[in-house]
């Protein structure tokens, strides 16, 4: 081989970069199967799991309490008013749905890109997506004021003879979010079928065997089953990738279709999608780092995974930073006095503290990830991921509240202050999210077992 062959040189650098393994050495089909299924099939739960579930359930009960009070009294218990009609509910909705997007990107987009490192994080990231979308869905429903009439948003030949306004992004949102929820559940379940079969075959307890047997629907790992299963997974990945982009685009159109200064901007769709991936990967890290520590999964979720996710966080963080710069620049460059005063108001108005907190959280913390050492430090990444999620929540708050509170006429300006019910509903959905997540890690394999076995096989093949 010619030593100056550029392709060969590139290959060697790639090998050096890929120094961190995707899977710790020495694992066999048996060891990966037993290790992951043992977490689900163990008779007893650790004390940590019970404590975590108890805290999460308390949060969930707070949510139920605030929803019950809301249904009894109405949305007046929240801080929303005219002009700030959207408040916390829509902030939380956009935040949660954005978090969900990383799970779909890991399971779909990274699959299409043939990224081996997605294998051990895709299952719980997909679960995260479903739970985040469930939390997101709570808010628009409650915000309607009369949630029991939610079916008015659906097109059906009703006795009133009317139809939804199909030209409105809010109606597009109904279709986008419900499609997204459905496709995420389907994708997740298809991936789970072979693992449910593994649990059925491994479970000692008759009841567990019956339940997993029922759910795995008689999967027997036949070559023909696998062939169709793989085709289906690839097709679903191909469908889910554009879907995820479309969902947050439609969410951003809810804003841009209005003429409110600070909302009416063409940069929103890509800016929202990048922000969604940014906060979503932060959430994946927030979940992955404790999971790998407490369940001793560092063989499967290696430093390579943390490093790669850190890189994605940095890349999307830079896109978000660019979007902020452009948004600010355009506000002044456009020559539109309303846009200019909106930006001045964000930076120096009554919500200036929130704005600067968002800038610090979203733009500065992530810059530490330029250092490889930081990307491979579990604690460092965990802290950055929490800061990023806070920042992204603040970003949605700033976009919604500062824009609405001061639009055109000073006579119709108004402030928004969250009430305790706003906070309780928001924290309550965090409780709901973690309740679902704790149940998930107890009853379903949090890492895809069959894909790990496939990975073991591929690693063996590449060594041979």
């Amino acid at each position: 081989m010619n030593p100056r062959d550029p392709i060969a040189e590139e290959r060697t650098t790639l090998v050096i970069e890929e120094g961190l393994p995707v899977l710790a050495a020495g694992h066999t089909y048996k060891s990966v199967t037993d290790k992951i299924s043992a977490i689900v099939l163990a008779k007893k739960r650790g004390r940590g799991w019970w404590i975590g579930l108890a805290i999460a359930l308390t949060g969930f009960m707070v949510l139920n309490y605030s929803i019950a009070y809301l249904l009894a009294v109405g949305v007046g218990i929240w801080g929303i008013n005219i002009p700030v009609g959207w408040g916390f509910a829509i902030t939380n909705f956009v935040w949660w749905i954005g978090i969900g997007h990383a799970g779909t990107l890991i399971s779909a987009f990274l699959l299409l890109m043939r990224q081996k490192w997605r294998t051990s994080i895709n299952r719980f990231a997909e679960a995260m997506t479903i739970f985040a979308v469930s939390c997101a869905g709570v808010f628009p429903l409650l915000h309607m004021g009369r949630p029991w009439l939610f079916y008015w948003m659906l097109p059906y030949p009703d006795t009133m003879g009317t139809w939804p306004q199909f030209r409105s992004p809010l109606v597009w949102d109904v279709f986008a979010v419900s499609t997204y929820a459905t496709v995420s559940v389907l994708f997740w379940f298809v991936g789970l079928i072979p693992d449910l079969a593994t649990l059925r075959d491994r479970a000692k307890n008759l009841f567990a065997r019956k339940i997993y047997g029922f759910l795995s629907m008689g999967w027997r790992g036949s070559a023909m089953h696998w062939s169709r299963h793989e085709t289906a997974t690839l097709l679903l990945a191909g469908l889910a990738t554009p879907l995820v982009v479309s969902v947050h685009t439609v969410v951003s159109l809810d804003f841009t279709a209005a003429i409110v200064p600070g909302w009416h901007s063409t940069i929103f769709p890509p800016y929202f999608v990048a922000g969604a991936i940014y906060s979503g990967f932060a959430m994946v890290l927030t979940l992955a780092i404790p999971l790998r520590k407490f369940y001793k999964l560092d063989d499967f979720i290696t430093l390579r995974h943390l490093d790669n996710m850190g890189k994605i966080l940095l890349a999307t963080g830079l896109i978000v930073a660019y979007s902020y710069m452009m948004e600010t620049f355009m506000a002044f460059y456009s020559g539109n006095p309303y846009d200019r005063s909106m930006m001045m108001n964000r930076m120096f108005g009554p919500y200036a503290t929130v704005y600067w907190a968002l800038i610090v959280c979203n733009l500065f913390a992530v810059q530490t990830l330029w250092w490889p050492k930081m990307r491979r430090s579990a604690l460092g990444l965990f802290i950055v991921s929490l800061i990023v999620q806070t920042g992204m929540w603040l970003e949605r708050f700033v976009i919604i509240v500062t824009s609405l509170s001061r639009d055109f006429l000073p006579s119709s300006w108004g402030m928004f202050y969250p009430t305790k019910w706003d906070w309780m509903t928001f924290l309550g959905t965090i409780g709901l999210f973690f309740t679902l997540f704790y149940l998930f890690i107890r009853y379903l394999p949090m890492i895809s077992i069959f894909e790990l076995r496939e990975l073991v096989h591929k690693e063996e093949e590449s060594k041979a």
Binding site: T28, Y29, K30, T33, D34, P155, G161, T162, W163, F166, R167, P169, V171, W172, F175, A176, T179, T182, V183, L186, F187, F189, V190, I193, P194, A197, T198, R200, D201, R202, M217, G218, W219, R220, G221, S222, A223, M224, H225, W226, S227, R228, H229, E230, T231, A232, L235, L236, L239, A240, P242, L243, S246, V250, L253, F450, E451, R453, E454, H457
Partner: protein
């Protein structure tokens, strides 16, 4: 006492290589009614046992087209025929505004047909299947590989097929009761 009728004979293997080799040799020996069971998808195995193409992509295409057409019709009909509203003289069939919902419903219907199509073609759910009568088959979802020659194969013979399978480096050969 009558022995229960046989579904087929099943051989157990240690690894992918011996299974692949066995599958090729079984096909070459003239057996057609065979199936292989593995703990993870193995490239080329379905071709080795004589399964070539799945109709799944066609089903998904049809599902997607139905979603696309249906989604557009869902918006076009109320706006143009069912409940037309004149708003500032704007066109009733304002098709660009109908694209997002059309797109979402295309994806939804295509995804539903992918999943239900895959399950239907695979014959799932299957409440009962004879291969589970072999006790060691539980390892097919862990670390063992199985090859089954069904009794309905024209070349099948309880004794000779059993000998053939044991000569393929199988760990063991089992009778599968139906």
């Amino acid at each position: 006492m009558r022995r229960p009728p046989l579904y087929g004979l099943m051989a157990e293997f240690d690894n992918v290589e011996t299974l692949m080799d066995a599958a090729h040799r079984t096909r070459a020996a003239g057996y057609r009614q065979i199936d292989a069971f593995t703990p993870f998808p193995v490239e080329g195995l379905s071709q080795a046992i004589g399964f070539h193409k799945t109709r799944l992509p066609l089903i998904v295409l049809i599902g997607g087209l139905v979603g696309c057409g249906g989604g557009f019709f869902l918006q076009w009909w109320p706006n143009v025929v069912g409940y037309p509203l004149d708003i500032g003289g704007k066109p009733h069939n304002s098709w660009p505004a109908f694209i997002p919902i059309t797109f979402e419903l295309t994806i939804l219907c295509a995804a539903l047909s992918t999943v239900f199509g895959m399950l239907a073609l695979n014959g799932l759910p299957t409440p009962y299947h004879p291969v589970f009568n072999v006790e060691r088959f539980a390892l097919a979802s862990r670390d063992r590989f199985f090859l089954c020659i069904k009794a309905k194969d024209r070349k099948f013979d309880r004794i000779r097929t059993g000998e053939f399978l044991s000569n393929l480096h199988a760990r063991g050969v089992f009778e599968v009761e139906s």
